[in-house]
């Protein structure tokens, strides 16, 4: 651990992996700087998990190459394995064993002697609030506890690179916040995190850079801010007092902003993209608001904001990121 790496944590070029007819990875390029959270964002089946499995040495790519801290994931798999940890749906802990048994088992496999492995396990269980559940079989854990023991198992030896494959899928909001806090603490300690998620807000919250993945390809990459500004300066969101005034409001907004106006599912809400520089966007929004008032339309809520990552995704792919998002949460 003394040799703090200076180069990128991950460098991948043209990764291809096919399973039968499916091209799970269709030439993925990635460059993940060390010491930050990098988000791989995409819908189910986009190839995120396959990418992580290749980078974590679990799956051999059909083509392309990838280096983790300068070590080739195929030819120097052992060197990579001693630097990374993986937590995900398919890299979990043994549900038949108790929490403490799992951590002692993995600690011993990392070379700790029995007493040291036990001490380390206790330390981690305390830090992750699992002391009371230590002697309970993991299959009896709640979803949030389960995710915490998974992450605890991944940092038995603090890794230089931690893969978190959809760490909050299926968790309630409180457990999700706990996982986020843990991720922030891990990164604060110098570990690079590669996070895959289908939740846009999660990538927005945690990642300093995001690669949007769709059909096995990176279709956009940048900071959350860059991605958002790539599709326009911002969006005006309006909520009306009376649904009956919406057609009129739509006309007024379209005229004032010079763009098309989207009608939301909510019968009193509408939104419109604003073009131009930030300053132009502000003046246009101000004009729109005063013209709504002049037309006698009562506005309950009016905001000018950056486009959401949802809108970014829609703009990039012409299909929504997570059609089943609401159902999952």
């Amino acid at each position: 651990m003394t040799d703090r790496p200076t180069g990128p944590a991950i460098e991948a070029k043209g990764l291809v992996k096919t399973f039968g007819e499916t091209r799970a990875l269709d030439g993925i390029d990635l460059r993940v700087p060390a010491g930050s959270v990098f988000g791989l964002l995409g819908p189910n089946g986009a190839g995120k998990t396959t990418a992580v499995r290749v980078l974590a040495t679990l799956t051999r790519p059909d083509a392309g190459e990838a280096r983790v801290f300068g070590h080739d994931v195929v030819r120097e798999a052992d060197a990579v394995r001693s630097r990374v940890s993986l937590t995900g749906q398919y890299a979990s802990v043994d549900e038949d064993l108790t929490g403490v048994e799992n951590l002692v088992l993995l600690g011993r496999l990392l070379g700790h002697r029995k007493a040291a492995a036990r001490a380390r396990a206790d330390e981690l269980l305390t830090a992750f609030g699992l002391t009371e559940a230590a002697d309970r079989q993991v299959k009896k854990y709640s979803g949030g506890m389960r995710r915490r023991i998974d992450i605890a198992a991944s940092i038995l030896n603090t890794p230089q690179l931690l893969f978190l494959d959809e760490p909050t899928t299926g968790l309630d909001p409180r457990s999700r916040n706990q996982v986020w806090e843990i991720v922030r603490a891990v990164v604060a300690h110098g570990t690079t995190v590669l996070l895959t998620t289908q939740y846009l807000d999660e990538a927005d919250q945690l990642a300093s850079r995001i690669a949007v993945v769709d059909h096995g390809k990176v279709i956009a990459e940048g900071t959350p801010g860059e991605l958002k500004s790539s599709i326009g300066s911002g969006t005006v969101h309006v909520r009306l007092r009376d649904a009956a005034t919406r057609p009129k409001a739509r006309e007024v907004l379209a005229l004032a902003l010079g763009t098309s106006v989207e009608l939301a599912a909510d019968p009193v809400a509408l939104s419109a993209r604003v073009e131009g520089s930030d300053f132009e966007a502000s003046t246009q929004a101000a004009r729109a608001l005063s013209e709504l008032a002049a037309a006698g339309i009562v506005v309950d809520d009016f905001s000018l904001g950056q486009p959401s990552l949802d809108e970014v995704f829609l703009a990039l792919t012409d299909h929504p990121a997570t059609p089943e998002k609401e159902a999952v949460r």
């Binding site: 679990l58 064993l97 088992l105 011993r108 990392l110 706990q178 843990i182």
Partner: protein
């Protein structure tokens, strides 16, 4: 043990200080030796038996049923009496039962992969085969247990081995060596096949002919020539010959040698195929 886990734990608030303390990189221990890693995985198998003791049912009840059933079914017809038949039959049924139990290694591995814990093991910087070797170490305990159960039933029914304690121990030792080697056939199928059901199906298709078309139940002298030819090369037959001979106190060097040759061959061929699949899964 309670099931109301979420309420008691939901108060957990991650604190950057305590998390920071456990994240401070301590000295990394040297990686464990191949043996240490395998034994640690063996310990995992013991823990699983501790938590799910029901899984020992197949290594206790099944052998007892097999022994009782065939002793009384065939004994009178083939050897005049169940007691007389048992002298011939016990080492054979011991082999049949234990070799049949080896298939649970494949089923267990398949389940493990399904549940997702193996991917974590595969990202650990340890000797690659250790997870599988350790798993089979755990299974060896089951083989010994099954052999002892059958021996107990046999002794109670009147089996009197001429080789004494030493001969019986040597026989069980041979059986364990062979079963350890034979288990690698099932680890391979456990990795290739999609579900535990299909692993079971394939095992039955392999195990039934192998154990029945042998010298376990009857003297091959009455079989047609082509069948005798098969029995002559059947590894199970060699194993049964070897175990019978040492248990009777008259070791058959040829059969014992063959048993070791077969065991080495199973590890070499199926161990390699298993690791090939394991590394590429």
């Amino acid at each position: 043990m309670t099931t109301t886990t979420s309420d008691a734990q939901s108060v957990y608030v991650p604190s950057p200080e305590t998390l920071g303390a456990v994240l401070s990189p301590g000295a990394r221990p040297p990686r464990p030796s191949a043996l240490a890693a395998s034994l640690t995985f063996g310990w995992r198998a013991m823990l699983k038996i501790k938590h799910v003791p029901e899984q020992l049912f197949d290594v206790t009840a099944f052998p007892i049923i097999m022994t009782l059933m065939f002793t009384y079914l065939f004994g009178g017809a083939l050897a005049g009496s169940p007691g007389a038949y048992l002298q011939f039959f016990l080492p054979g049924i011991m082999v049949t039962s234990v070799v049949m139990i080896t298939m649970y290694t494949g089923v267990g591995l398949n389940t493990d992969i399904e549940k997702g814990v193996f991917d974590r093991f595969r990202t650990l910087p340890v000797w690659r085969p250790s997870a599988l070797v350790g798993m089979i170490f755990g299974d060896v305990l089951r083989y010994v247990l099954a052999a002892l159960v059958i021996l107990g039933v046999g002794l109670a029914l009147g089996f009197r081995p001429g080789g004494g304690v030493g001969g019986v121990a040597a026989g069980i030792g041979l059986l364990v060596v062979f079963s350890f080697a034979f288990s690698w056939v099932w680890t391979m199928f456990g990795l290739i096949l999609r579900s535990e059901k299909s692993v079971m199906g394939v095992s039955m298709m392999v195990l039934f002919p192998l154990t029945f078309l042998s010298n376990v139940f009857v003297d091959p002298g009455t079989m047609p020539g082509w069948l005798q030819a098969f029995v002559k090369v059947n590894p199970i037959a060699h194993l049964v010959d070897a175990i019978r001979s040492v248990m009777a106190g008259t070791p058959d060097a040829t059969a014992i040698t063959w048993t070791f040759v077969w065991s080495a061959a199973f590890v070499a061929v199926f161990g390699s195929l298993t690791m090939y699949r394991y590394n590429r899964k």
